[in-house]
C-alpha cells in the first residue's frame, strides 16, 4: 500500500521498518538480532542527547528555492536554522541554483496556545507569509508541542488553499514520534508527493498528440526512447554538489541523461520527476518511501543499493544501472578505465595510510560503505558506529560481515559516552566521524577526519582519491590532536572507561 496516497500523516520508521538504536557487538550478531526484529527492544537505561527528525526535515526542505518555512511549535524548535543558512546558500551556489536569504517563521506557541490549541496562529502565519513574501511554496513543519496537543495542520492547510497563492506543504516531523532521525526522509517525501504535481501538464509542458501529427506512433516511440535514457539521481543534504557531479559524469559517460532530485529543486521542476526511465538512490537509507510510491503511481522502476563509495561499491552501483539501461559494455569500460586511473593516483598515498586503525561513526549506510572503502585502501577498521540500524541496510552489512568478519558494531544515536569508551579501548589512529563526535576523538588524542562534508568529494573515483589524500594529509602532522589530547579534561569518572561500553544497552532482549 502507498502511505503517501492513503494517509495524511506518514508512518514512522519505528513501525514501518525493523529498526534499532542500541546495540553493541559483532556485525553477525547485529544481523541476527535485526533479522528477528528484536533490535528495537535493545533500549538504553541511560541516554544522552540525540537528534530529532525536525532538524533533518528542515535541512532538506529549506533547500527549495522560492519557499518559506513556518515552524509550527514553541519558538525553540527551529533555532538550528541559524547554522543552516550558510550551507544552503553555498549548496545552492554550487548547483547554480538562485536563492535569496532563508526566510522562516515560528508560530511561537505560548502557554495559552498549548492549552487552547495553536491552529489559529498557524493560519495567521500562513496568511502573513503569503502576503509578505509571495513564495511559490510554504512549508509547515510541525514539532512536538502541537502534535501532543493535537493541532491538525492539514486541516488548516486545506481550509486556506483557496485563499493563498502559494502551495502549502504540511510536514509531520515531531521529534518525539520516532527514535530515528531518518524518518525525516519519509516526512519530507510524504509532504512533497502529496502536495506537488509530479507529472508534466499537457499543453503547458508538452504538446499532447492531436491526431494531426505525421506519425503518432513514431512520436510515442521517440518519447519512450528519450524517457528510457533519462535517469533521476535522488540526492540528500548529506551528499554534496561535488558528489552529484561525479555521479552525473559517470552516468553521462555511459550515455545517459541525468537529472538530480529532490533537494535544491524548484517546485515546478517536480513536474518532470516522473519523466525518467529509472530512479536511482544515492544512499539506501533515504529514498525507498518515495521511490516505491512513484513506481506504484507512475510505473518508474528504481534502484536502491547501498552507496557508491569505494572501488567495489562504485562498480556495482554503476553496473546495476547499466544492466537496466542496457549499457553494460560501456559501463564496464568506463569502470575499468577509471579504476586504472585511480590506482595510479592512489599509489603515492598508500604507504602512509596502509595499516591505519580506523573507527567510523555516522550514518548507517555511510559508515559501512566507507569501512569497505578503507579496507580497500589497506586500513584496518576497528569498529563502526551507525546512528541507527534498519533492514534497508542489511545488504551492505552482510557484505561487511563477509569482508570484515567479527567487526564490532555500536548502534548509537550519538551517545558520546560509548564512543569515548571505545576510543580509549581501541586506540584508533583515525576516527572518521560525522558531526561533533570528532571532538571526542581529538580529546582522546586521535586524528579525526570528517566522514562526510557537502563541499568535498566522497563518492566514486574522485571521492576515493580524495579520501586517501585526506587521510594522508591528516596523519602527516598530528600535533594539534596530540597536544590537545595531553591537555584534555574528560568529563567521565575513570571508572567508566574500565566498564563495558555497552553496559547501558539492554541487549539480552536481542535474541529472545
Amino acid at each position: 500500500m502507498s502511505y503517501i496516497s492513503d494517509s495524511k500523516t506518514p508512518p514512522v520508521r519505528d513501525s514501518r521498518l525493523k529498526i534499532g538504536i542500541g546495540f553493541g557487538g559483532s556485525v553477525g550478531d547485529l544481523l541476527r538480532a535485526s533479522g528477528k526484529g528484536r533490535l528495537l527492544a535493545c533500549d538504553r537505561s541511560f541516554c544522552q542527547v540525540s537528534a530529532c527528525q525536525l532538524h533533518l526535515t528542515l535541512q532538506m526542505v529549506m533547500t527549495m528555492p522560492d519557499s518559506v518555512t513556518i515552524v509550527h511549535g514553541a519558538s525553540g524548535c527551529g533555532a538550528q536554522i541559524h547554522t543552516q543558512d550558510f550551507p544552503i546558500r553555498s549548496g545552492s551556489a554550487a548547483r547554480g541554483v538562485k536563492r535569496g536569504e532563508l526566510i522562516w517563521m515560528s508560530t511561537n506557541l505560548g502557554e495559552r496556545d498549548v492549552i487552547s490549541g495553536g491552529e489559529g496562529k498557524l493560519r495567521e502565519a500562513i496568511l502573513l507569509v503569503d502576503r509578505e513574501y509571495r513564495p511559490r511554496v510554504i512549508f509547515v513543519a510541525s514539532s512536538c508541542a502541537p502534535n501532543i496537543i493535537g493541532d491538525d495542520i492539514d486541516e488548516v492547510a486545506d481550509t486556506l488553499r483557496g485563499e493563498v497563492a502559494a502551495d502549502i506543504i504540511p510536514l509531520h516531523c515531531p521529534g518525539f514520534k520516532t527514535r530515528v532521525v531518518a524518518t525525516a526522509y519519509d516526512a519530507v517525501y510524504h509532504g512533497l508527493a502529496r502536495n506537488l504535481e509530479l507529472a508534466p501538464r499537457p499543453h503547458e509542458d508538452f504538446a499532447p498528440p492531436n491526431g494531426l501529427s505525421r506519425d503518432i506512433d513514431e512520436d510515442k516511440r521517440e518519447y519512450a526512447r528519450r524517457k528510457a535514457r533519462t535517469v533521476n539521481l535522488i540526492n540528500a543534504s548529506s551528499i554534496g554538489a561535488p558528489d552529484e557531479r561525479e555521479l552525473t559524469e559517470l552516468l553521462r559517460a555511459i550515455g545517459l541523461n541525468v537529472r538530480v532530485y529532490t533537494e535544491y529543486v524548484a517546485a515546478d521542476d517536480f513536474r518532470f520527476l516522473t519523466e525518467a526511465g529509472l530512479n536511482v538512490s544515492m544512499c539506501a537509507v533515504h529514498d525507498d518511501y518515495l521511490l516505491e510510491h512513484i513506481k506504484e503511481k507512475h510505473g518508474t522502476p528504481y534502484i536502491i543499493s547501498s552507496m557508491p563509495l569505494g572501488i567495489a561499491e562504485t562498480r556495482e552501483w554503476l553496473l546495476n544501472i547499466a544492466a537496466r539501461t542496457g549499457d553494460m559494455e560501456r559501463a564496464e569500460a568506463v569502470a575499468d578505465a577509471r579504476e586504472a586511473e585511480l590506482r595510479r593516483g592512489l599509489a603515492p598515498f598508500l604507504p602512509q595510510i596502509k595499516g591505519l586503525r580506523v573507527l567510523l561513526s555516522g550514518g548507517v549506510i555511510r559508515v559501512a560503505a566507507a569501512a569497505l572503502a578503507l579496507k580497500e585502501l589497506g586500513c584496518q577498521v576497528v569498529a563502526v558506529r551507525p546512528y541507527h540500524y534498519d533492514d534497508l541496510s542489511d545488504p551492505i552489512y552482510e557484505r561487511l560481515e563477509r569482508e570484515c568478519p567479527g567487526l564490532s558494531v555500536n548502534v548509537a544515536p550519538n551517545q558520546a559516552f560509548e564512543l569515548v569508551n571505545i576510543i580509549k579501548r581501541e586506540k584508533p589512529d583515525v576516527v572518521l566521524s560525522h558531526g561533533g563526535s570528532g571532538v571526542w576523538a581529538t580529546k582522546a588524542g586521535a586524528v579525526s577526519v570528517p566522514l562526510m562534508s557537502p563541499n568535498q568529494n566522497y563518492f566514486a573515483y574522485t571521492g576515493m582519491y580524495e579520501l586517501a589524500r585526506r587521510l594522508a594529509r591528516a596523519t602527516q602532522n598530528d600535533a594539534l590532536q596530540r597536544r590537545v589530547g595531553e591537555n584534555a579534561r574528560l568529563p567521565f569518572k575513570t571508572g567508566w572507561y574500565g566498564r563495558d561500553p555497552y553496559s547501558y544497552i539492554e541487549q539480552d532482549r536481542a535474541f529472545e
Binding site: 519505528d14 541511560f46 541516554c47 544522552q48 542527547v49 540525540s50 537528534a51 530529532c52 527528525q53 532538524h55 511549535g73 514553541a74 519558538s75 525553540g76 524548535c77 527551529g78 533555532a79 538550528q80 536554522i81 541559524h82 547554522t83 543558512d85 550558510f86 535569496g100 536569504e101 526566510i103 522562516w104 517563521m105 515560528s106 511561537n108 505560548g110 502557554e111 496556545d113 498549548v114 496562529k121 514539532s143 512536538c144 508541542a145 501532543i148 496537543i149 515531531p174 521529534g175 518525539f176 520516532t178 527514535r179 544515536p413 550519538n414 558520546a416 558531526g435 561533533g436 563526535s437 571532538v439 571526542w440 579534561r489 568529563p491 567521565f492 569518572k493 571508572g495 567508566w496 547501558y504
Partner: protein, 442 residues
C-alpha cells in the same frame, strides 16, 4: 507578552538555559525533553554564536531522556530518574539539574518529585522547569539560577570586599567568558574580591560563597535583576546595579566612580585607574587617526538589532565616545513588560539629546525590513546585529558588525568589548568594517 508570530528568532527557547548550568563547572544538566531540543539551542547559543561549545560537559554528552512517544502515554519520570542515577555514577558531577522542556511539561511529568527522590544523596539534584512555550533562553537562564541559588545555604558572615557579579548571560552573551574575566580583573584592581560563578575559574565553590558577599554587582539593564533581588531577600545582601557593561572611557570612568562611591573605595585609587585607562585608550586612538580620516565617508548613524545588554553597552559608547548618532535600536529578546520603561530610560541616559526609537520585540526580522525601507543613503549607516542581519548589509554594502546571538562565523575565544581595552577592539572592528565595505581611500 510573546510575540504572535516571529521571524528568525534571535533567542533560543527556555531549554537553552542549560547553558547557564554548563557555564558553572561541576554542574551537569539532565534534560527531560525531545531528542532534538538540545541541538536547537546549541546552534543559536553556541556553535553559531562565537564558535563556542561547553566544556568539559560538551553538548553531545548531555544526558537527555530523548522524550518519545511512550513517554507521552506513560510519562517519562522513571526514565529521568534512571538517567540521573547513571550520571551520578559515571560523570564527574558535583550537582545535577533535572530540567523539564515542553513535552515533559505538557504531559505533566513531575521532575520535582524525581529530584526529591535523590535528597540526602551525595550529589544534590535540583528540579528546573524550562519549557520553551513559557519563555526564551533568558527565562531558562533565570529558572536555572533561581533553582541553584535557592539551594545555597547562608554562610553567616560577609567576607570583606567580596562582590558577586551578575547580569551576564553565559553563551547567549557571545563574549561572556572574556568579559567576565576582565570584569574580575578590574574589580581586583579596584581593591575588591570578585566572586564569579561562571567560566574558567568559576564552580560550585563560588556558588556556595555567594551568600558571604558584601554586595552583589549587577551589570546590565534587566537580566538578573530578579536574581539580585532574590539574594537580597534570602541573604540580606545589598546590590549595586549599574545598567550597562561599561565600554569605553566615558562609561568605564562613570562606572568606576559610582562603584567606588557605593563600595566606599579609595577615591584616589579610582581616579588614578580611570586616568591611566583613558591615557592608554587615547594613545592608541591618536595613533590611528590618520587612517581613520581617510575613510571617504564616515558613517554617522547606526542601527542596532541585538539583546538589550549588548545594545546598551554599544549605544553608550557610540554616542558618548565615538560621536555617532543612533537611528533606531531594536531589542528582539522579549524584554518583559515590567522592565521596558526602565530599560528605555537607560538608553536615553547618554550625552546626546536627539530623537530615536527603542523597539521592544521578539521579532528579529523587523530591523532589516525597516532599514531596507528607510530610504537613507546606505553608506551613511552602520548596522550592528546578528548573522541574520548580514545578508542585508552585504547586499546593500552597509558596514556591519555581528554583536549578538547568533553571531555566525565569529570566534569569540576570550574577546570582549569591556572597559578601556575592549573599546579599542570595538573601535578597530568598526573601522575595519568601514574600510572593507569600500568606504576608505588609501
Amino acid at each position: 507578552m510573546k510575540s504572535c508570530i516571529v521571524e528568525q528568532p534571535r533567542t533560543a527557547c527556555a531549554i537553552g538555559g542549560f547553558y547557564t548550568a554548563l557555564a558553572i563547572p561541576g554542574i551537569v544538566p539532565v534534560l527531560h525533553c525531545g531528542p532534538g531540543c538540545v541541538s536547537q539551542s546549541a546552534a543559536l547559543l553556541a556553535s553559531a554564536n562565537g564558535a563556542q561549545n561547553a566544556h568539559p560537559f560538551n553538548e553531545h554528552i548531555i544526558p537527555c531522556t530523548d522524550f518519545g512517544e511512550a513517554d507521552v502515554v506513560f510519562g517519562g519520570g522513571e526514565r529521568l530518574r534512571k538517567n540521573i542515577e547513571n550520571v551520578a555514577r559515571s560523570y564527574k558531577a558535583d550537582m545535577i539539574l533535572a530540567i523539564n522542556g515542553c513535552s515533559a511539561e505538557i504531559v505533566g511529568d513531575d521532575n520535582e518529585e524525581v529530584a526529591r527522590g535523590f535528597s540526602g544523596g551525595d550529589i544534590p539534584v535540583l528540579a528546573v522547569e524550562a519549557a520553551g512555550f513559557r519563555g526564551n533562553n533568558l527565562y531558562g537562564h533565570s529558572q536555572v539560577l533561581k533553582a541553584i541559588l535557592n539551594h545555597v545555604e547562608p554562610t553567616g558572615k560577609a567576607v570583606g570586599g567580596q562582590v558577586n557579579v551578575w547580569g551576564v548571560a553565559p553563551f547567549y552573551d557571545t563574549f561572556w567568558a572574556g568579559t567576565l574575566e576582565k570584569i574580575g580583573e578590574a574589580l581586583t584592581e579596584a581593591g575588591l574580591a570578585p566572586n564569579i560563578i561562571y567560566g574558567r575559574n568559576g564552580g560550585l565553590d563560588k556558588v556556595k560563597a555567594v551568600p558571604s558577599a558584601e554586595f552583589n554587582l549587577l551589570l546590565g539593564p534587566w537580566v538578573d535583576l530578579d536574581i539580585v533581588r532574590l539574594l537580597k531577600e534570602r541573604f540580606g545582601t545589598p546590590y549595586f546595579h549599574y545598567p550597562a557593561i561599561p565600554v569605553g572611557p566615558t562609561e568605564t570612568a562613570r562606572f568606576l566612580r559610582e562603584l567606588g562611591e557605593f563600595a566606599g573605595l579609595d577615591r584616589n585609587r579610582v581616579e588614578t585607574r580611570a586616568k591611566e585607562g583613558e591615557e592608554r585608550y587615547y594613545h592608541y586612538i591618536r595613533r590611528s587617526l590618520l587612517w581613520v580620516y581617510r575613510c571617504r565617508a564616515l558613517p554617522k548613524r547606526y542601527y542596532i538589532n541585538s539583546g538589550a545588554s549588548t545594545a546598551l553597552s554599544l549605544h553608550r559608547y557610540l554616542v558618548n565616545d565615538m560621536g555617532l548618532i543612533p537611528c533606531k535600536i531594536f531589542l528582539p529578546e522579549d524584554v518583559p513588560e515590567e522592565h521596558q520603561e526602565r530599560v528605555e530610560g537607560y538608553f536615553r541616559d547618554v550625552e546626546l539629546d536627539s530623537p530615536y526609537d527603542v523597539v521592544f520585540t521578539g521579532d528579529g526580522g523587523l530591523a532589516a525590513q525597516e532599514i531596507a525601507a528607510s530610504g537613507r543613503p546606505k553608506w551613511s549607516l552602520f548596522y550592528f546585529g546578528s548573522v541574520w542581519d548580514e545578508p542585508l548589509s552585504n547586499n546593500e554594502r552597509i558596514p556591519f558588525l555581528s554583536v549578538s546571538a547568533p553571531q555566525g562565523n565569529v570566534m569569540a575565544m576570550d574577546k570582549t568589548y569591556f572597559g578601556y581595552d575592549g573599546a579599542l577592539r570595538l573601535y578597530s572592528d568598526y573601522y575595519e568594517q568601514v574600510a572593507s565595505k569600500g568606504l576608505r581611500t588609501s
